[in-house]
Assembly symmetry: D2
Homo-oligomer: 112 residues x 4
């Protein structure tokens, strides 16, 4: 297993990582930053895990599934938090996080 | 400027990073690894810079263009090296590197 | 040049990256998050560039000095912003950023 | 829990990541690169997971222990492989990997 077999999950992780970075940065520019505090925190964590999951998958690592299991959990939690906010970046981020959680679960053999 | 304006370049960087990781890892499994040594080295460097360029662009950083300038140079060098090898992963990687170098140059205002 | 010759700069970059992540995350938990918005943004960018500078140096890359030049600039800007805040995490972060900027300048041959 | 409580483990992860990058890059310059192929592969994976474990810990993430569990396993495997080779970079890397595995186990509550 490796890059080509896991391509959908790699793409979902990379999209999610980038959108989380964008969301965190956009949240700091909102009028009510305090309301976005938890979102910023989770975005940062989600971006970090998504990049490393994509890295291990693209390397064809035997640890890729282990990290995708954690990635699914962080993405789910980040997506749930983003869903609470109505800014465009949070809505985009919620979608990307949920799509990534689903791909990670599929890739690890847990029915989504 | 940020995620949406730089999306083509972000996508090119992330694709290039993943394919470089895949290429480096695949190179280690070739019969003649020694011939791939320089390719592995540049793949590792190219993946590192591409991820960080994508990160800074997705954060909307005012330093994004500075890093994309370096990224274009590493991608060019890595793509040139990969072009010398006829394995599928090196050919794919050469294409991804050259596409990424071009996007980085476009994004920094240097005609590609 | 590589890991052993650049060890001081690598260590400064890694320390700075970790403290920036800690500072960003701690800023989100402050009473007045809005006041910390710019600090969070720069912390995120500074962490990203510091990790990749450390990666390229530890790989012995010929592009290490190019990235350390940018790293010095981001660290300086992030350290200046952090200096404005009196929380412990911002003060620690200001110190780490300034030390890292100095090491990056030394490593690139610019007198600190 | 966060940066200060997990500092020993963060430092061990960052040191291990850097030394793995250095080892992978140095392995490509050995006379017998083929003999180092597995070492290069594991170094790349180990560096990726160690950086992200350090990131999540420095952010004070509630997922830090989950990733440190995987990190301990990759470090152990990478350290075992590096132990087989007598170059200086492999011996240094074996030591850094084993120290990191131990810190990760301690941090997750598994007696080292």
């Amino acid at each position: 297993m490796g890059y080509h077999e896991w391509k959908n999950c790699i793409d979902a992780c990379l999209k999610c990582a980038s959108i989380c970075n964008h969301c965190a940065s956009s949240c700091t520019q909102e009028e009510d930053v305090k309301m976005m505090a938890r979102c910023i925190e989770l975005d940062m964590q989600c971006a970090a895990i998504c990049y490393s999951a994509a890295q291990l998958m693209s390397m064809g690592s035997s640890f890729a599934q282990d990290i995708c299991r954690i990635c699914a959990d962080i993405c789910q939690q980040c997506g749930d938090e983003c869903s609470n906010h109505h800014t465009q970046h949070c809505q985009e981020c919620a979608d990307a996080c949920k799509a990534c959680a689903e791909e990670c679960r599929r890739m690890t053999g847990v029915a989504a």
